[in-house]
Symmetry: C2
Subunit: 290 residues, 2 copies
């Protein structure tokens, strides 16, 4: 049986750690604001010790496996991107070892005819989905879509969806038109508009024209924008990887709801897994693959 594991999800803005028993059950957990961006150079070991020192003493054989931006250039140590295709085994072999006990999961870099794409942290969640063949979608500021074949990540693409939503919602002329509380039916209008051929740059402007022409309320603008961008993302991912796959969504809350309705509208088969669950299963998979 596998040993205990101390699993650390160390991102830019948060530090999360879990103590897992051999069966992957969470024995204890900690979440703090010691995100990678707040830790001074050379201060990472101290932060880990402060949050997980007791666990490490109590379970001297439990390895400490970390994933996320902690392995970025400005993190604890830079874990060079592993090449795509990437499997649990290839990533386990590419672990960056801080010492004989603590290691960092590398991110993945993909090269295709159009240039490079990278992920750091998402690879762990993808391996936590147990998808053997299909598409995995991780929505967010920079949404990731990964194609998995025989349990191997064979390609992925990043979409600037969440950041683009924030740009238009906060800084564009749509910001002045958007009203609250939001009318969520605007989301479906946005989905619909995105599926035609005129293109995003026209559809974005039309949100304004619809409001000025009295055909859309300001309360619908935010959800419309969201529907427009999410559907454009899905359109791009499906054109890239094909629409005939099971889509496994690593998300929860409102974002999960929105992607589900956008994918349902296209007739996709969908599975949903919560990010924390995917992270824990992913790190356990990588630990077992060593």
């Amino acid at each position: 049986m596998t040993s205990e594991l101390i699993a650390v999800d160390w991102g830019t803005s948060r530090f999360r750690a879990y103590r897992l028993d051999g069966a992957g059950t969470v024995l204890d957990r900690v979440s703090a604001e010691d995100g990678m961006s707040t830790v001074p150079a050379g201060g990472f070991a101290a932060v880990l010790e402060r949050h997980c020192g007791a666990w490490m003493k109590a379970s001297p054989d439990a390895p400490v496996l970390m994933a996320g931006m902690v392995g970025a250039r400005n993190g604890w140590a830079e874990a060079a991107y592993a090449p795509c295709p990437a499997s649990p085994k290839s990533l386990a072999e590419a672990l960056l070892h801080i010492d004989e006990r603590i290691s960092i999961v590398p991110g993945v870099i993909a090269h295709d005819e159009t240039g490079p794409d990278v992920m750091r942290g998402e690879e762990t969640l993808i391996f936590g989905t147990d998808v053997r063949n299909g598409l995995v979608c991780l929505p967010g500021t920079h949404s990731k879509w990964a194609r998995v074949e025989d349990g191997v990540i064979t390609g992925f693409a990043t979409f600037m969806t969440g950041e683009t939503y924030a740009l238009y919602r906060q800084h564009s002329l749509l910001a002045r038109l958007a009203a609250e509380p939001e009318d969520l039916t605007g989301f479906d209008d946005g989905l619909e508009a995105a599926t035609d051929e005129r293109g995003l740059l026209n559809r974005l402007f039309q949100a304004r024209t619809r409001v000025l022409a009295g055909e859309m309320s300001g309360e619908k603008v935010g959800p419309y924008l969201s529907g427009l961008l999410i559907n454009a993302e899905i359109e791009g991912a499906f054109k890239r990887y094909g629409a005939d796959h099971l889509v496994t969504l690593v998300a929860d809350g409102v974002l999960a709801k929105r992607y589900v309705s956008a994918l349902r509208a296209r007739g996709s088969a969908i599975e949903i897994i919560a990010p924390e669950r995917a992270f824990l299963d992913g790190l356990s998979t990588l630990a077992a693959a060593r």
Copy 2:
């Protein structure tokens, strides 16, 4: 022969006026910062008098024809949008008359299955191109593409290209990566990236990845972004109206150069007309159509 004409291009940020003889030759001109947004309610007549009073005295028979945001809701008086299809004759008949001498050209509103689109000011430039059949492109913050058939505007679409460029260049994570002086060869890279199927949201992110992977210099980021967005705009316009038209570009300077190279790359036949020339010929055409 047609009479003299006082032609006023009164936009949000600038006031421009021209005194034209019966042949359309510019006898005199004025340009000031009395844009519509700076004029207090009720103050429009005084601004016109200050800049054009002498001309109006010298040529008592010359009508004063104005176009642009001066006819918007917050302008001198609201000139209701005229319906599309729109011809010089239909717009001349829909002129908003301030008095027996001064009138405002109405904007145009188009309705299609996907919703409304509007223009105010561009309609005058389009009629100044003398295009009988083809596409007219007016690049800018909110680029307009109009289809002209037998000299009539039969449809048009607005693309949020310039505003989107500014959003990403100033507020997105690309802002931190973009360096100057710009390397203009990045524009062609952007054109190329936009023509594939992955979609804008992916391509935008890839600008970042290319820089981080050392495959693109920061000096190329701005031009790349510009090429990406301009080509996405053209793609949308061609999908909408067809690519097999003569494209008449109402632009000058860098913007004209960039649209020309993007259109050339697609093999389009192109004509270019300077915005001021198009405005003057357009107002003369509308004056003659009364």
